[in-house]
């Protein structure tokens, strides 16, 4: 009954098997291995983007920060939701990698920006006047930190605002597969067809050991990205072990199957929770993460039953939690958790 985070799950068997298989003989370092070439092919195929640049790093923070640093100058902004991972959970990594660009926080219910709130935030961003930090890039997180999901149309509506202001667009897809499954859309529909220029395509939270692909649709950005990655210590010499994970992850649509399972478990959990007296969800449950608020005393009861998750601050006399399901959550886990109420 482990609902703390999808990153507390192990690696999926097929992913681990790919790593094992890769552990054979010699391979050139720094991305010049044969598996990496195969990964590039697989990612391009998955994104229907035959020219896309693909690089692997070991953490989502690295993927996001390197992507953003390649898109914005130090005197520019990154517009993102007030509670985006890049704003709240990366200890200022975007500021570090960009050499001091400014995050402009956009409000929005349920973790989602709207075109109107984005436009309003943009009004406060300088352009062409030297005194203010200038327009930079837009960064959208999907699945959001609130567990909600943008449809491709919603992404496109946001990127349209950004593009109208000359800004490139980044997608933080730490839970990208979950977002695709939740919306029934393809990787292409969710990204370049919706105006996204660079994607952090997550593997870690969805069954890998630790790998994220940065997918860049404009090949002109490739070399700068590579130099920034090396300079940040994110070019692994034994790249094959990152590549193998991503290979196993993409093979036979495993990534989508794993995410589908995680989302299904999320739905099962959410459905069960509707039966709990006095429980309400802070946000619509659309993927594999939810934020229920319940009556006081529940934490103790669940903990006693062996449940693990992060409690959240709640209004007086209430309790709240973040619950995350993953590829390895079982229906039995969910049902036992529900039974503990």
């Amino acid at each position: 009954m482990f609902f703390a985070s999808d990153n507390t799950s192990a690696a999926a068997p097929a992913v681990m098997q790919a790593v094992l298989t890769a552990n054979d003989g010699y391979a050139m370092g720094y991305g010049n291995d044969a598996i990496m070439a195969e990964v590039t092919r697989l990612v391009r195929e998955a994104f229907e983007a035959p020219e896309a640049i693909v690089h692997l790093v070991s953490t989502g923070t690295a993927a996001n920060s390197l992507a953003l640093a390649t898109l914005v100058q130090p005197w520019q902004t990154v517009l993102c939701h007030r509670h985006a991972h890049i704003a709240d959970d990366e200890c200022g990594a975007p500021e570090f990698f960009t050499n001091g660009a400014k995050l402009v926080l956009v409000d929005g219910a349920h973790g989602k920006m709207l075109p109107e709130t984005l436009s309003a935030a943009l009004k406060g961003v300088a352009q062409g006047v030297v005194h203010g930090v200038q327009r930079g890039a837009l960064s959208i997180t999907n699945v959001t930190e609130a567990g909600t999901v943008y449809t491709p149309a919603e992404v496109a509506a946001l990127t349209a605002v950004a593009k109208a202001h000359g800004m490139p667009c980044h997608l933080d897809g730490a839970r990208f597969a979950n977002a695709l499954v939740a919306t029934g859309s393809t990787a292409a529909e969710m990204t370049w067809k919706a105006g996204i220029d660079v994607v952090s395509f997550g593997g870690t939270k969805n069954g890998c050991l630790g790998v994220e692909a940065v997918v860049i649709f404009d090949p002109a950005k490739d070399w700068e990205f590579q130099l920034r990655r090396k300079r940040a210590g994110h070019l692994p010499s034994k790249n094959r072990y990152l590549a193998a994970q991503m290979q196993g992850y993409l093979q036979d649509d495993l990534w989508l199957d794993l995410a589908r399972h995680a989302n299904d478990m999320g739905a099962r959990l959410a459905k069960g929770l509707t039966q709990v007296d006095g429980l309400r969800q802070w946000h619509p449950v659309q993927a594999n993460m939810m934020f229920p608020e319940w009556t006081a005393g529940t934490h103790a009861r669940l903990k006693a039953a062996g449940a693990v998750y992060y409690p959240f601050p709640a209004p007086q006399g209430r309790e709240a939690a973040r619950l995350v399901t993953s590829w390895s959550t079982t229906a039995d886990d969910v049902d036992r958790f529900l039974a503990a109420f």
Copy 2:
């Protein structure tokens, strides 16, 4: 016959097995897993340093840069050998992580600084005068980039110069185990007993998939290091997969056995090369890396025989190469290579 780099080797079976074993059930993220606690215990034991702080990162560049950034201010220097890895092979990572500290390059034959050359370089470094970049830290690489080795006494002689100038000392131990085996010294003798404050303790080149431990002997530096690591995208959520590698690596002195084998293969190769007409070594061969220079036409012959290694620029009419042996080099590899001459 793969002598290109020790990072082209696979992971050692016991290391991979530890990763496999770790891939079971749930584990708290970001270093709060049980294996990491065990790794801390093992590293402290190996270094005879019961208070040492231990953190894992996935690349040597990250280990070095984070260590140095924790030791120096942006307006300070890092003194290192002219051809140190941090100077030549990390695309300016130390400058990035330190926010612009300056590397002061120290000359010295065979990749080694001497106390005198270090002292001479220090004369050019400002202290207490605002116009110049100030004294910062000393960084020593062992095994050096020339394949030579410092003894603990030689390390101590260098750190004594640094300490006399108030400078902390870093050891880049990407090939730390090879250096210990080559000198018959312990981890403690080579580090804190010889004046080293922070070590980059390498695993990747010696049989891991990709892991380096940063060992910090002064616990007061811990929190700053952790913030810098997170901010640089080097805190893995699924830390257990780094920890498992290091656990397998340290268990039963595997790390020393692997390095001993690599060094033995290096010695076997070097000995064989003494028989090659017209061949000379640029540097004394003391561990698992060598730089032979030989007669023109040899590259073609070796390549035809299936040997893989990096050629180096050589004087007119000559050829040169870097040859690296590893834990997975076999005596047969060496003998076939020698036979190809």
Copy 3:
């Protein structure tokens, strides 16, 4: 009729005379001139702070950014009002000088933070958890960007919140003299007695050519500040010309006389504007800056009369402006401006 900014005014005669007087013979560079020693004495006297460190720079942005960089680490925050000069008008200079610290914006009517809004903002700032940017410093602007003024008691109430969270406090005093005059308080009461650790003490807007003093009450910060200043190109070789300005400014309380005049002209202007039909002030007028909103068509009339000022965006069918008086504004300027309505 120049109400665009106090920085469009010339230098006061006594300030210019001090510069002229300083232009005689040789003087050691980089702050080692005799006038600088006298300035340090004068500033310490004015602040009743015999140990205070005093350094001069040529712009307010430099003063603020160097002060903040000395107070916070790159992985920390600066809390300030949502519309502080450091947030809106310095093109990200604080982020540049601090190597990427994050500005956390605090809401508050009329340009002023309240202890409650500051406390609320602090709730969102991490401390001791590695994922978020950590607590850093508080920065208060007085006179605020809205033209309002904090009393020493109000400053103390804010710094008390900061100190309770272990945070040092900076005062952006680009219009420091105006704030003192407006509140009838002394420099000491407004700063160290109210919990301020470092002050940007402005001269430029109040009759100098271009000089700001950074006053640091903790001498332990001196050397780091000096290195940061030099490294940022803000240590002038011919420092005597900055020092002379500050000397002329402080002599015989000129700085307070100039500010008193500016504030008086502000009051005269504000009083006259109360007679204008359909005019309302956005903020209380407390010093030398105001933001009137008036009926459409007024801009054209005032411009025709020769008035110069910055128009501001206003609600439909209305117009708004920022009007600033200075040491050189005359009663006649004000009266002619009022007559133009």
Copy 4:
């Protein structure tokens, strides 16, 4: 008898007069003043460069660092002489402004790089291989820190090497006027006609209070430079006082007259020193700075006579000094100094 530095001299009367004249009435801030427009015209005329971008800053360090930051990326190099001002005397300002670019130091007698030493240094700089810091810009100092001078032909020979490697070129002209006078060349000949892309055109050391012009021949770099300048706190609100200095400096070729006088005094001093027994010059004396080495005991004698200058470390039993003449050095100063031997 003040030979410590040309920056210990006062401002020339005509420069100070221009400042006084500028101190009249209101002027728009941040470079939008009428005097700045005139300065741009005058600089373009002096450089025969009708499209050149001209911006003023208050220190040479700022001019150099902003210029270099506009020319290189953080992962690139700046090649300069081992003892360039940017390498030795700016406390790492270039590293700060460029966010960590690396200075590659080029050897050369008498403070001068040669095309061969530059080419040799370039061999060690990576290009197109991700592991090393990449080619960036060349920076030449004229007058050099050794007091020697490059001719336009020598500058062109160096920039030709740089351009052949795709690198833009910067000239640190803190003593630009002295270099022009010494070589009998025009500003255009010494800069854009010789392959220079950006010039730090010094005023401070040659009779101004504190002003340097950055002259950028490629207008496409303008906006980035402006943003960097603002962000570094180097955009003065009362820009007119910088502009007035530069106006007075350029009017009627005052800048060249002042430099001619300084060089003449240098020649007079050098000639006189040839008569001193046991004295030798470290470098050819070509402008207004020299490094004589003389017999022990001389310092005491000169000091007793009232001479002020910087002593330098010298070989056993000898003494050395740096002597700098300026626009305000008189023949009488020189003669009394010589008489003191």
